[in-house]
């Protein structure tokens, strides 16, 4: 572990729809260390998938990266040629998507879809690619003689395993998993997460795990980035976040985790609704729903502040805030890997 693999700075991804410009990702900073598992959480529509897709530059039209940089292992992906980007995809950045039912080509043998990653990047024979894909099938817990099966012959969990096998076929440095277990039942979900953890440890990959499930992230993530309305509003080590959430929104999300030890298992949901990203509220995007808002919140965009090696985008921690004690506005270039 150690060292920085990915650094995203001031990334903006907008969808230019006929109904207006959707500012799905609007000035995001995120840094991922090697071998680290970073969780990306947030309500539906907060821009998690958009951020995940922007990294390998797979944003579909009418979306576009309109600003910022994505530096991956010293390479700014936003400036790479399409051919250069293609070489990164699959080989150095793997992706797993939410819906295993639709993410595999129904007309292609599952094994071939794993071998496809290998054949796209390496000059190997079909039989060699097949042999390697069979090994990968076994690595994700599927018997190798299922190579010639088609996706419809597999359950959701098995399909997701195939997706994972195709994503890790070339031992990428970074795996981006967008809600990889949301469509699966709880038991399969646990199995898949376990598989992730195992593969990540054995291969030393970095992982960005996107979900809207804070409880799940708390179990597996090293650091957690919380998204709200196209911003990352807090980025902290998981344990520290659980103990002491900095952003009021993070605190609400943690409260919303159903606590199995409590008798009252009502799911606490956050009152109010997420912002319309075509016309986000002025100032802090969370202020209309925030219990702790004060006077600058409705007018000024909160700064990104470093607190004890954690990052938080909230006026409470800005110098001049009501209890600005530990907060100091983060200056360019002095950022540090929060985990050290």
């Amino acid at each position: 572990m150690g060292g920085e693999l990915l650094r995203i700075e001031d990334l903006k991804v907008h969808y230019f729809t006929s109904g207006g410009v959707v500012r799905a990702v609007d000035g995001v900073d995120l840094e991922v260390g090697r071998g680290e598992l970073v969780g990306l959480v947030g309500e539906s529509g907060s821009g998690k998938s958009t951020l995940g897709l922007a990294i390998p530059r797979l944003i579909p039209p009418p979306g576009r990266i309109v600003g910022g940089s994505i530096v991956f292992d010293g390479l700014d992906l936003t400036e790479l040629s399409e051919e250069g980007m293609r070489d990164i995809r699959g080989r150095r950045i793997g992706m797993v998507f939410q819906d295993p039912m639709t993410s595999l080509d129904p007309l292609m043998k599952v094994g071939d879809q794993i071998a496809e990653t290998i054949l796209a990047h390496e000059d190997v024979s079909k039989s060699e690619a097949r042999a390697r894909a069979e090994e990968l099938l076994e690595a994700v817990g599927i018997p190798r003689d299922r190579y010639d099966d088609y996706p419809h012959q597999f359950s959701g969990g098995m399909r997701q395993r195939v997706m994972i096998a195709s994503a890790i076929a070339l031992k990428p440095d970074l795996l981006i998993a967008d809600e990889p277990t949301t469509a699966l039942d709880v038991i399969v979900q646990a199995q898949i997460l376990h598989l992730f953890r195992e593969l990540q440890r054995s291969m030393g990959m970095s992982v960005i795990l996107i979900t809207h499930d804070m409880a799940l992230e708390m179990q597996v993530a090293d650091r957690i980035a919380v998204m709200y309305g196209g911003w990352i509003v807090e980025y902290s080590p998981a344990a520290a976040m659980a103990r002491n959430p900095l952003n009021p929104y993070t605190a609400e999300l943690l409260k919303a985790i159903p606590n199995i030890e409590l008798e009252d298992q009502r799911l606490v949901s956050i009152p109010g609704s997420p912002p319309d990203l075509r016309a986000p509220p002025p100032g802090c995007r969370f202020h209309p729903r925030c219990r702790r808002r004060f006077e600058p919140c409705a007018t000024e965009e909160p700064p990104l502040v470093e607190v004890d090696g954690r990052l938080v985008k909230c006026h409470l921690y800005a110098s001049g805030g009501p209890d600005s004690a530990g907060g100091s506005e983060r200056g360019e270039g002095e950022r540090e890997n929060g985990r050290g």
């Binding site: 897709l53 390998p56 797979l58 579909p60 293609r86 070489d87 990164i88 995809r89 699959g90 080989r91 793997g94 992706m95 998507f97 819906d99 639709t102 993410s103 595999l104 080509d105 129904p106 007309l107 292609m108 496809e116 990653t117 796209a120 990047h121 088609y150 419809h152 997706m163 195709s166 994503a167």
Partner: protein
């Protein structure tokens, strides 16, 4: 595989009542039309007696229900009977003389239409909302509305008469026929390594297949565009891209293959239309196929030949649609009969 065999068998059994109904209808329609083969052949000049004798020879003096039952029992035994005019050759021989020409035209017209449809539809589907997309849309509408004989004559005029590049009628140059193997001139020329015949056959084939192909391509343009746009939005396309495969592979291996499924269905449905189009094309280009032949025999009221030809056509359409279904099952692993 056993279920597939059962499926094929059911399909074949289902065509039997269809053929029976068709046969009955054609039988009746032919007899409702004024005139009969004897009058058409010998004309009004022949004497009453001569006509009565010929009618008797052909069994046309029997009551209608008798003729119908006689014919039916023959067909059930696999005998399409003999022609009612001139040499009175067996109908099946007459059909076999003209069938290869039609097949050759149909296949090449079909290939042209699908190829044109895929190229124009893919262009439109990949560039949705652009001028190219609009141009392809206009193409599909215009082409669909064209009348085959009209387009045929325009092509004959421009490429045949004005430019002199292609012949305007017939199937092959004089004395150029290749040795008979299948009856398909292009194929036979290749099989017998007869390059002169091949060149000639292709030259004669060009304008008719273009005519047929262009008119029928419009449907495919629209369908390929829609189908491709839908497939390109699917998750597995994004997943393929995330593996780092090239756009070419995304298009050919994933998108077009999946987009092809509804197109294949359309091909099956369009086949009967293709044969109808082939009839018009054949008459426009004096192509010696089943269409030209059928038209001529309808005029002569050659009852047995017309009936036999229609039955043959129907069987052929049924066979092709069965074939399409089998291809379907081959391409799409989700299909289990």
């Amino acid at each position: 595989m056993a279920s597939l065999r059962a499926y094929v068998l059911t399909r074949i059994l289902l065509t039997i009542p269809m053929i029976f109904i068709l046969l009955t209808v054609v039988f009746l329609v032919m007899r409702v039309l004024p005139g009969n083969p004897v009058i058409a052949m010998v004309g009004m000049k022949a004497s009453e007696e001569q006509i009565r004798q010929l009618m008797h020879q052909l069994g046309l003096d029997k009551p209608l229900w008798r003729q119908y039952l006689d014919y039916l029992s023959k067909v059930l035994r696999g005998d399409l009977g003999n022609s009612m005019i001139w040499g009175r050759r067996p109908v099946i021989d007459e059909i076999m003389d003209h069938f290869p020409a039609t097949i050759e035209l149909t296949i090449s017209g079909f290939a042209v239409s699908v190829l044109l449809g895929i190229v124009t539809g893919t262009a439109a589907g990949l560039r949705r909302g652009t001028g190219l997309d609009l141009a392809m849309r206009v193409y599909s509408i215009v082409v669909y509305a064209l009348f085959i004989p009209w387009l045929g004559m325009m092509l004959q005029y421009v490429f045949g008469v004005k430019l002199g590049w292609f012949p305007v009628g017939g199937r092959i140059g004089p004395m150029m026929e290749p040795e008979h193997v299948t009856g398909l001139y292009v194929l036979d020329s290749i099989l017998t390594l007869n390059w002169g015949s091949l060149a000639s056959a292709l030259r004669y084939l060009t304008l008719p297949s273009l005519t047929l192909g262009v008119v029928l391509s419009g449907v495919y343009t629209r369908l390929v565009r829609t189908s491709l746009s839908e497939v390109l939005e699917q998750d597995f396309i994004r997943a393929a891209r995330s593996r780092g495969v090239s756009e070419r592979v995304v298009l050919f291996r994933h998108a077009l293959k999946n987009a092809f499924i509804p197109i294949l269905t359309m091909m099956g449905l369009q086949f009967a239309l293709l044969l109808a189009g082939a009839v018009l094309t054949e008459t426009t280009f004096s192509w010696p196929g089943m269409g030209t032949f059928l038209m001529e025999r309808i005029i002569y009221r050659d009852f047995t030949t017309v009936q036999g030809t229609i039955v043959f056509y129907a069987l052929f359409v049924a066979l092709v649609s069965l074939l399409v279904d089998l291809i379907y099952a081959y391409i799409d692993p989700r299909i289990r009969y």
